[in-house]
């Protein structure tokens, strides 16, 4: 695999050396972008950092924080005859609030016959609606195209463009189910908690490219928090981390906003995109999955575009959504714990059977940890940890570090008490005694849990039946 300048191992090594040299005390840094979460875990950036430097992940995945009620409504709208439902690919597998797993995501709706189409841009939905409105084939009714408009500040301009085009083209068979969310209000909600424990923030460069860095100056000043605006490649991320370490280690420590994504993002952002968004959307209060309501953190259509609002064209569904009690998604999204510190991670909660918001989409922090598990949490070793240190090859796992108990009736209201499926292997609840030292084993076990829960037909990797 080739490396670009932003992934160059020599540059990476130099930055890592500087971070190690300048880091003298425990620090917790937060990033708030699914792309950054993935890059950190995919490239093992966290393994390169000093042990006292901890990276946590905020609500950086717009797919994950889309409320379950909105997913339910999307499924219901998509399932209506005469509707073409256009969505980004990663919304297909995100579960709503229904406990029936065969009916609780858009993929299932598609398999039941709903016309759900994956688009790469909101303008694709306009093209489909235009083609539908021009369809003159006799006996073929014109279908209504619904765009599932989700995302942060980055995707809102494209949605706004699509809705403006729909108005200009007088498309009557087009509407949008809007669930756009804004990053700075969510960050303020997190930092309002006096126990947030975050020392510095890596801000997502693409959000600033659109929205500018104005809101981050306010956050840095109000919460006395250094902020580094950065990108998504290893060199970007390490430059951001180094900047935060330097700010925090300086005497006295500073809390500036430094733009390290200067090759793309400017202080004002993309003014044309901002104007387009403002012309179509107004700021509103918004529910965040896993966090709750956050004032002025969402976007809704301006009154002049109300005829394109799918949420009024289609009646709402009344549902009671409940967060499973053992799921600590809210703590993950607030950066209080890392996904692997949640008791449900990898056992009761997997991408195929997610409990919490960050596991529901590939973009989420829990899903990223699940996908890119490292063999040891803080390892700079060039030699893989011998299997004996993870788990014995042919004997039951778990002498000192783990307490494995036969699975008891689940305390989670949304999790089945006993899995009655044949060959089910979800038999354990897994608890670590001392998190840092037991993570390697816990990760190894989570891997087993994953293999057995997500692909129950595969042979078991390690024998761990009680």
């Amino acid at each position: 695999m080739q490396s670009t300048d932003f992934a160059n191992p020599i540059h990476v090594a130099a930055l890592v050396r500087q971070i190690h040299a300048k880091s003298t005390r425990p620090l917790t840094l937060m990033e708030v972008c699914g792309g950054q979460t993935h890059a950190i875990l995919r490239y093992g950036i966290d393994q390169l950092l000093p042990p006292e430097l901890r990276i946590v992940h905020g609500p950086g995945c717009p797919v994950c924080v889309t409320p379950a009620e909105t997913i339910d409504r999307a499924i219901e709208i998509a399932s209506k005859p005469g509707v073409i439902f256009c969505t980004f690919g990663d919304m297909l597998r995100v579960p709503g609030s229904q406990t029936d797993r065969n009916r609780n995501d858009l993929m299932q709706a598609k398999s039941r016959g709903a016309d759900v189409r994956v688009i790469h841009s909101p303008l694709d939905a306009i093209r489909i609606a235009l083609a539908e409105s021009q369809n003159t084939t006799p006996g073929t009714p014109k279908r209504h195209v619904v765009l599932f408009a989700i995302g942060f500040e980055t995707t809102a301009p494209a949605t706004a463009m699509a809705i403006r085009m729909a108005k200009e083209l007088a498309l009557v068979s087009f509407s949008a189910l809007v669930c756009h969310v804004l990053v700075p209000p969510a960050l303020e909600a997190i930092f309002d908690d006096a126990d947030h424990g975050i020392d510095g923030l890596l801000a997502a460069g693409h959000v600033c490219t659109i929205a500018g860095d104005g809101p981050y100056h306010r956050i840095a000043k109000e919460f006395k928090l250094p902020i580094a605006i950065t990108g998504f490649e290893p060199v970007d991320l390490l430059r951001g981390i180094l900047n935060l370490v330097e700010q925090l280690e300086s005497k006295p420590s500073s809390h500036r906003v430094d733009n390290l994504y200067e090759h793309i993002a400017t202080a004002d952002g993309n003014l044309q995109a901002q104007r387009t968004v403002e012309s179509v959307f107004a700021v509103c209060d918004q529910q965040w999955r896993g966090i709750g309501p956050i004032p002025r953190s969402g976007l809704k259509l301006q009154p002049q575009y109300a005829s394109f609002d799918a949420s009024t064209l289609f009646p709402p569904v009344k549902l009671a959504c409940e967060q499973p009690s053992c799921c600590r998604a809210a703590d993950v999204l607030r950066g209080k714990i890392r996904p692997i510190e949640c008791p449900a991670f990898g056992t009761l909660c997997t991408p195929s059977q997610p409990l919490g918001a960050p596991m529901v989409s590939n973009e989420g922090a829990c899903a990223a940890y699940f996908l890119y598990q490292s063999l040891s949490d803080k390892s700079l070793s060039k030699t893989p940890t011998p299997i004996e240190k993870l788990a014995p090859r042919a004997s039951p796992i778990g002498p000192a570090l783990l307490r494995i108990t036969p699975r008891k009736p689940s305390p989670c209201p949304m999790v089945p008490v006993a899995d009655s499926r044949p060959n089910s292997s979800r038999r354990f609840s897994l608890k670590t005694t001392q998190a840092p030292s037991s993570w390697p084993v816990a990760i190894a076990l989570c891997s087993i849990g994953r293999a057995k829960t997500a692909w129950p037909s595969l042979p078991t990797r390690l024998s761990c039946n009680p």
Binding site: A7, V12, M91, T155, S379, I387, S447
Partner: protein
Amino acid sequence: MIFPGGDIGKLSVYGTVNDLAVQGAEPVALTMAWVLEEGFPIEELAKLACSVGKAAAECSIRVVAGDTKVVERGRAHGCYIATTGIGRVKPSVNLSPHAIRSGDCILISGPIGDHGMAIMSQRAGLVFDPPLYSDAAPLHRMTLELIAKVPGLRCMRDPTRGGIAASLNELANACGLCFEIQEACLPVRPQVHSACDLLGLDPWIVANEGKLIAIVPPESVEISLQILRSHSIGSLAAQIGTVQDLYRGLVIARTLYGTQRIVPMPAGELLPRIC
């Protein structure tokens, strides 16, 4: 039906030939079932049939039986082709994941992800310079030569759906050993890398239609690479990793920076991410 670098007629033949080839078989014959949607243009059908004929001739395999069914409009998205192949395996050939031993080497015949990204880029309207083409190609000549000339050849796979992540996980699970892959050695075209970045995908899980994974003992690496590189479709062949007994049934990626991660078995359809 048609994608950059091929069409489903050609793909249906190559896919079957490759399934036979990696099992150590010499392809002999195949049967075809065509499910056609009412209203499917005859010209397109003729093009696909010609493509099947050319691909079969190229692979020296005979289409010995076939069937067509026409279904109602809107029931088949144009056309489906299902194939079954028959091959001949020499009694001396014994390829199996159970033959894999610690210390063996993992080879790949060329850059990964070309087929999947050529199709996804076309769907997403992404254009690259140079353009991205599917790698659809028959592997049987390469595999037959490897079988004849490589001492101790353990087993082979063609990493199609699920990419190399799926094939390597299957093999690692089957042999109960650990596959450590060096990402620095993994050939990926820059266009594929860029397309994956844009769509939020990983080249490891993107489909290939003309690539070969071969597991060989260390002493046979040189001859194996020579053979692979002597074929035009294997000119960029490389050793990408080794088999170890440190972990049981895991695929481990060693990144460009010396860090490690577990490569899981991919699940479900490839879905582009929003950002």
